[in-house]
């Protein structure tokens, strides 16, 4: 079995290496064949492993010892349990779909092979992350997905916005990683191991400790540090700023990396660490509040975005906030459940948006779309499914997972849960609004692309091989694009029906630990009466009606009275500006952090290095010595290299003598 586990990440890696290094040799078709084959093998193996895990065969073991030092044995190894295998299935399935979709989306891109190499490398990294049985490999996967994300956001490296966005993404993630590494360091220092099982075995002992220097309760410090890492990767407030900009990358990676998989790594990590988080209500409280802020405030921004991908991006932020809230409410399985349903419906939304973008000749501004439903029927239908799921309406997948999160947050007792519940409810309304605003704005109403076609400068406008703007009717994308959309929209509808098994069966087994005091999920299990029962009950509750009224508002504003949004915007003045400015985070970060760092750097360099050290200390003493040396100089020739050579040969002579004495002894 171990070979099989090993093959799961190595198959996509092999594809990535082949396409990356021998892309020219393999050609375009060859490159996509090897990478798709790699991911397909990995997917099939994941299914087999899933069945094996279902049969009760878990695995926790090392592949090789990476390093050993100071009593710390660091190994590369796998932990195969229900949580891992769920993630493996999600990652491989979405990745496979995105690989196929890419054939169509990137068809005319000169970096075709490179792109396939990157997404396969990403799949490898993500699998290493989720399959790890220790913190070092987790950190490796964590940073490796960050690297690939960096490479892919900046895929179109000639575009200034893309290379700004990828640097920003990497650095903001590094801020998170800074916290993450401190958390890992604390675990290593106090548990003396970085192996999950060994650390979890000592958790009760760790819970009694305080950090020696700071005096903090150890487990709280560890959990908050680890969670800061999650905030970076899963784009939680205030480290969310990189995700919207990451939309500069090609759309397939927005779906794969910045919606379905990589950004959920933080959610996965916290779930994996549930034995630790359950010991600190303070940390859980922190988690739920951060999640709540992200959920509501990012959803609000989505309302005012006009770029189709950015609407989906802010929607992703909000959905990640929901997952984070679920973590804070100790409903880890619910978070993973939403992670899964979201991976499907958000991939649909992103890939659908990509299909629209292709049809619009790389135009991303919704103000230049409208009325597209008759030209793009398949895209429209699948995106509609995505929107229903995203808004959390039954019977679509998002309903089950989102409703369960809201319920879990409602039942949570940690400080901040009340605030979180309010945010969760408010965001349901906003979610309905922005999801259907996207649909109506893009697919219904006037065909605005006819008017504005000529001054259009889409973000993906680097290659214009699809013909000239406005010269042809928009038409449905090719099969390689629509088939993945259809295949993904099936689980976007149906994956929610697994709720009974995933949340209330014993799906995750021992992979997730919940403290006895956190009863929320147990209460929910008690009240759960099947999928139909939940839907019947759902339509009588507040979230359902909030989502409906959100959708209705969108319908009124964008179908019935399309003139109103502009009026509202004018009337709301400052409020609209605040949202359009995204609360000013980007401006502040650019000014304070980027500008401040440069200011400090320049100050230290000019003031410290040049004036103080060089000016006063070095050149000051140099002039003193220089004066003295003036006298000595009279007896010297001044050809420094001449002295230097004579010194070398002096040394040589001296040493040759010594060497000779050794040499003669050997002889």
């Amino acid at each position: 079995m171990k070979t099989l586990y090993l093959l799961v990440p190595l198959a996509p890696l092999a594809g990535a290496i082949l396409a990356g290094f021998f892309g020219k040799l393999l050609g375009r078709t060859g490159s996509h064949v090897v990478t798709i084959l790699g991911v397909a093998i990995s997917f099939v193996l994941s299914v087999l492993i899933y069945q094996d895990v279902q049969a009760g065969h878990l695995f926790n073991g090392a592949v090789y010892t990476w390093m050993e030092s100071g009593g710390l044995k660091l190994q590369v190894g796998f932990l195969i349990d229900p949580l891992t295998v769920t993630m493996m299935l999600v990652v491989n399935f979405v990745s496979l779909m995105v690989h196929v979709y890419t054939i169509g989306y990137m068809a005319e891109d000169p970096g075709y092979q490179r792109f396939f190499s990157y997404i396969s490398l990403f799949t490898f990294s993500m699998l290493m992350l989720v399959m790890s049985n220790n913190f070092v490999q987790l950190f490796f996967g964590w940073e490796a997905v960050g690297l690939v994300s960096y490479l892919l956001i900046g895929f179109w490296y000639t575009r200034p916005t893309a290379i700004y966005a990828n640097l920003k993404a990497f650095l903001v993630n590094r801020v998170g990683d800074f916290g993450f590494l401190l958390g890992i360091g604390l675990i290593a220092a106090y548990a003396g191991s970085l192996d999950y099982a060994e650390v979890f075995a000592k958790r009760n002992e760790l819970a009694t400790l305080t950090e020696a220097v700071t005096g903090w309760p150890l487990i709280t410090a560890v959990c908050i540090c680890l969670f800061i890492g999650a905030m970076g990767k899963s784009a939680q407030f205030p480290l969310h700023v990189w995700l919207p900009d990451s939309m500069e990358g090609p759309t397939p990676i927005s779906a794969l990396i910045h919606a379905a998989t990589m950004v959920t790594a933080g959610i996965f990590m916290v779930s994996r660490m549930s034995p630790l988080f359950e010991l600190s209500d303070t940390a859980l409280s922190f988690v739920i509040v951060i999640g709540a802020i992200t959920t509501l405030f990012m959803a609000l921004i989505a309302i005012v975005q006009t770029d189709i991908k950015r609407v989906v991006a802010y929607s992703t932020l909000s959905q990640l906030g929901y997952m984070t809230m679920a973590l804070g409410a100790s409903a880890y399985s619910v978070a993973i459940f939403h992670l899964m349903t979201h991976a499907f419906f958000k991939a649909v939304l992103f890939l659908g948006a990509g299909s629209v973008i292709i049809a619009m000749h790389h135009e991303q501004d919704m103000r230049r779309m409208g009325g597209l439903r008759k030209y793009l029927p398949i895209t429209y239908a699948t995106m509609l499914i995505g929107a229903f799921a995203n808004a959390g309406l039954p019977p679509f997948a998002g309903f089950f997972s989102k409703d369960s999160i809201i319920e879990a947050v409602h039942l949570a007792k940690v400080p901040g849960a009340g605030f979180a519940y309010f945010c969760a409810l408010a965001a349901v309304f906003v979610g309905g609004l922005y999801s259907f605003r996207l649909i109506f704005f893009t697919f219904h109403g006037k065909e605005r692309f006819r008017e504005a076609a000529h001054d259009a400068h889409g973000h993906d406008a680097h290659h214009d091989d699809h013909g000239h703007h406005g010269s042809a009717e928009p038409h449905e994308s090719p099969k390689v694009v629509t088939v993945p959309l259809i295949l993904l929209s099936i689980p976007a509808i149906a994956s929610g029906w697994l709720i009974g098994t995933m949340l209330y069966g014993n799906w995750f087994g021992g992979a997730i630990t919940i403290a006895d005091a956190h009863k929320g999920l147990a209460t929910m299990a008690h009240e759960f009466h099947g999928v139909l029962g939940m839907m019947m009950h759902g339509v009588t509750t507040l979230p359902f009606w909030l989502a409906i009224s959100g959708a209705a508002t969108a319908w009124y504003l964008y179908i019935v009275r399309p003139d109103l949004p502009a009026v509202i915007k004018k009337k709301s003045g400052v409020l609209a500006t605040i949202l359009e400015e995204k609360y000013g985070f980007d401006r502040f970060n650019d000014w304070f952090f980027a500008g401040g760092a440069r200011l400090i750097g320049r100050g230290l360099w000019k003031g410290g290095d040049q004036v103080l050290i060089d000016g006063v200390m070095v050149n000051g003493s140099a002039s003193v010595i220089g004066g003295t040396a003036g006298l000595v100089r009279l007896i010297q020739s001044g050809r420094i290299y001449r002295y230097a050579f004579s010194m070398v040969f002096g040394v040589l002579a001296l040493l040759t003598f010594a060497w000779w004495s050794v040499f003669s002894r050997i002889l």
Binding site: T158, I184, S661
Partner: protein, 491 residues
Amino acid sequence: MNASLLSLAIWVPILGAVPIFWIGSERRTLVRWLSLAVAVAGFLVTIPLYTGFDAAQSGMQFVEQAPWITRFNAQYLLGVDGISMPFILLNSFITVLVVLAGWEVIEDKQAQYMGAFLIMSGLMNGIFSALDGLLFYVFFEASLIPMYIIIGAWGGPNRVYAAFKFFLYTLLGSLLMLVALIWLFLESGGSFNILDWHQLPIGIKPQILIFIAFLVSFAVKVPMWPVHTWLPDAHVEAPTGGSVVLAAIALKLGAYGFVRFSLPIVPDASHYMAPFIIALSLIAVIYIGFVALVQTDMKKLIAYSSISHMGFVTLGFFIFNQIGVEGALVQMISHGFVSAAMFLCVGVMYDRMHSRMIADYGGVVNTMPKFAALFVFFAMANSGLPATSGFVGEFMVILGAIKFNFWVGFAAATTLILGAAYTLWMVKRVVFGDVANAHVAELKDIGGREFLVLGLLAACVLAMGLYPFPFTEVMHASVDNLLKHVAVSKL
């Protein structure tokens, strides 16, 4: 044969340089190939040092002993332990790359250029293997000379200032070290044997004085803040090969001095002074990180990045736990690969554009895709990305530092952000973007020789990142022994 391996490591390159000087620069092809042959031979003779090394043993191995200056009881005493052995291999390996890197680029006095590097390589091996204080000192000082010549003869326009600074700094340090060595010689009853000094009981006051004397000398070499300002200037003026050796090997000499001299000879003073050294190290990491951010000259930026990375080395040594010390040693080796690669990358661009200024570049990836891929890879290693060697040492030192004191670890870990910021911001401005100007548009991608040099380094960086086990394995016994020794008071 085994008994003279260290001598071979020292003398093969030095004596190999003699015929190269003799052949002269007119016969370029012969000079190049002979230099390469000598460098490769010099590397090959060091390989048995690794394969024949007994990792279980903490003491000195491959010991060679012969009388040298009997009047002072100075001996030709060589030996390596798990701490010094890797550096001999590193140095000999880097020498091969330096010869390859100077293949076509150096047009003026190539024989002397190659000869100087080969001699320096031998002298450096002497430093890492000398167990006699006086012998160490001779090698230590002598190694300055070829470097000085390299900067002076093949350097940039402002080489006089750089060389002046370089000498002023090192001279002051070295003299104090000599005083300390003589004091130890007298105090030990007439022995220059470093291992004897390790056992020598010394009172706290002389310990502190000796520590300071060594500190000044080694701190300049490392270089530690605030005696670091010679390094950026020296790098900027040095030819590519000079920068490579300076960064990859010469900076390690000071750090090596700390573990070979300061810690074991004056352990009480080391403990006493540790907070001070830790503070300087953290200043190096953070202060220099900020300074690196605003550099406009790529070589200066990488030089500052070197100083920042070397801060991790001194930090690792003075937190006195095994993972910290081993992490520092790993960081030294890794920095040897990564900084060498970074300077070689700048060299590749400089050879084509004759500029080191970031502002003169932009969009290099469009015309040099192969080079850009390697450059980004090394930049990632420089930012400490896992699976590259750059991560291993930093990670170990940060773990050690958190164990030692959370706030020290906290300060050290800021390198995660700063290191990525200055490295990748440079990459963004140099490598990515649209073709910035006509010069960039005319760039030719790297040829086979350049690809070989960078590829070999990339392989090392990746291998050490994926499987650092063999590197730390050889260190355990020696580091363990060192820490046990340092824990015992000499008072």
